[in-house]
Homo-oligomer: 358 residues x 2
């Protein structure tokens, strides 16, 4: 049973790190260890893991939706305080590791109830488990990547010119569902000067001839995430647009080629950044080169200067350099890649060229 | 300017409570005060409010999407730590109030950097502002409620019998968009025994003759949320189904009638619960009677035993009693209501009866 095995590995990590209890609430650690997922709302759901076993503390009204697993279920009533329940299960002066995304109001409540306990982040314990995907997880990430690739393949036949970003974005979202995603999570359509804003929110701007358009989208399928970006141009590209796009593509491909077990995460960022700096665009590449992906769109490892984490087989992450010329245009090309025993392979394989669309 | 006025009111609250600095990250407090909204990801976005003014600390790559407002913008680079930036703006041994939904990993980082500061929840400062909606907010909540009412009106013509919950749920989601929502947020379709699970996740179960079906759905429109629930039956209802439904409707209507400025939140819960207990179903009403709504689907005030918060004109919340008979069926009826100067009026007005569908 995959969940029981994961909990056993976590317990080994806890024992090595001297952690008595792990508390997991909002975020993907909980579904990773139990298969149970809930909506992050004000009613506390928390998995308590210690050497005695795992206990899922849930609101009474959500208890009926928990499928039985290898954990005990403790349901709390609407008129009780779930933090009292959790605090009683913790060692009063022990070492407690907490999931990063747990709401701070819950941490404050625990600090109050357990003033002698030492709290730390649970991420260092879970990161080594979650970052290396097993065969089943890789299969799910491949399937999710194939879905967005089918959307990418349809993009050249979408009408861009004369339509608002928001309309095109809605079409991208619909295509993700049509092609097999359970949900779309983001659908950036950034045109003209907006393409120079990496996390642009699709707007009422009408797409015009001559625009560069960055389309960056992803969603979830069977719990696992997709994320890909391609850049288009409305009508014939200028020499500068071609040169910027070629630089980004070169950076992206060289970064991919540099991936191998043993390389550091920051070295891959360095390769992509080096290509872009060399071409004179260094100051316009204003974000890291990539992020891990799995149950969450963004998770470890992060490909960023300062992260000397070492790549290992089974790690999956994005490689997505970009160049953003403020007020003018931007280009980004993004694939999810998987580290193998010897190098890395892209899970996204749709056409990466600067395609002309109408 | 509405945002400037809200910040001024917050500063008054801070001064009364002896709070030096307010820090707001994930959650609706930040958009409420600035109009700026971002995705809750690992890159920290944080609004710092103190008597000197407001500063929005944002990832450099998201700075281009921030519309200018009455706050300063400080963009942090990918290779720097935003907590260093925020900590420098805080009084080292002052009183700091933090948004409840801020990730605990950020609170831990702040505790490390500001060991002498006193941290508390920002909710008591913001709750009085956010709970009383102004005229513009009420207009937006009315519009959102009207959208889901149009969906409710279409539900009797949806085919239920012989289809999977998940297919019907998808149709509900699509209708929310068609009728005017920017996004659907949840779409519970809980049939037969599943209707006894209040937060049931739509499943592969095929809906059959004789099933009770709870449909509970909501989404967002221009930033404000909707939330409504109606209960249907496939074919003629049994006497017991009719009785349970009538009890829930009576509880819901009596709770509405009890709303007025000055009544406590828990007293409204008590009215609904009293009706259901009287009818002998007390142990099967396993959740609170309602929750506030606005920028978030669930916010203050909560209608629950133990909450003696007093209702005020402009407060908007759900009234949604239910009865859940495990393994058999459940019924829930939910409207958003608004407290006026003298009583309360429902914003949802679609047919509340136990409608027979096919």
């Amino acid at each position: 049973m995959v969940f029981a095995q994961r909990v056993r590995t976590l317990l080994d990590q806890m024992s090595l790190a001297g952690v008595d209890t792990v508390l997991l609430s909002v975020g993907a650690d909980l579904p990773y260890l139990t298969g149970y997922e809930t909506t992050p709302l004000e009613r506390l759901t928390m998995l308590v893991v210690d050497s005695a076993g795992s206990t899922l503390v849930v609101p009474e009204l959500e208890a009926p939706r928990v499928a039985p697993g290898e954990f005990e279920i403790v349901a709390w009533k609407e008129t009780s305080n779930p933090l009292d329940v959790v605090a009683k299960m913790c060692p009063p002066s022990g070492s407690i590791a907490l999931g990063d995304q747990t709401w701070s109001v819950f941490l404050m409540g625990l600090l109050e109830r357990l003033p002698k306990a030492r709290f730390r982040s649970a991420t260092p314990l879970l990161r080594p488990l979650r970052a290396r995907k097993d065969a089943a997880e890789i299969g799910l990430l491949e399937a999710a990547a194939a879905t967005v690739d089918r959307v990418s393949a349809r993009l050249p036949s979408v009408r861009f010119r004369g339509r608002r970003e928001r309309e095109v974005a809605r079409e991208v979202m619909d295509m993700m569902i049509q092609e097999g995603h359970d949900e779309g999570q983001f659908w950036i359509v950034a045109s003209g000067p907006n393409s120079a804003s990496p996390h642009h929110e699709p707007s009422e701007r009408t797409i015009e001839a001559g625009d560069v358009v960055v389309v960056d989208f992803g969603g979830r399928q069977a719990g696992y995430c997709s994320d890909t970006a391609r850049t288009f141009v409305i009508g014939e590209p200028t020499a500068e647009q071609i040169r910027v796009h070629a630089t980004v593509l070169e950076a992206q491909q060289q970064a991919l080629a540099a991936c191998r077990p043993g390389a550091t995460a920051e070295s891959i960022d360095g390769v992509a950044r080096g290509v872009i700096e060399q071409a004179g665009f260094g100051e316009y590449f204003i974000h890291r080169t990539g992020h891990g992906i799995g149950l969450e769109t963004h998770e470890h490892p992060y490909l960023v200067a300062g992260n000397n984490e070492v790549l290992e087989p089974g790690m999956c992450f994005s490689i997505e350099p970009g160049i953003y010329l403020p007020g003018r245009f931007g280009v980004r090309i993004e694939d999810i890649v998987m580290v193998t025993e010897s190098h890395a392979v892209p899970l996204n394989n749709s056409d990466r060229s600067l395609r002309v669309v109408s």
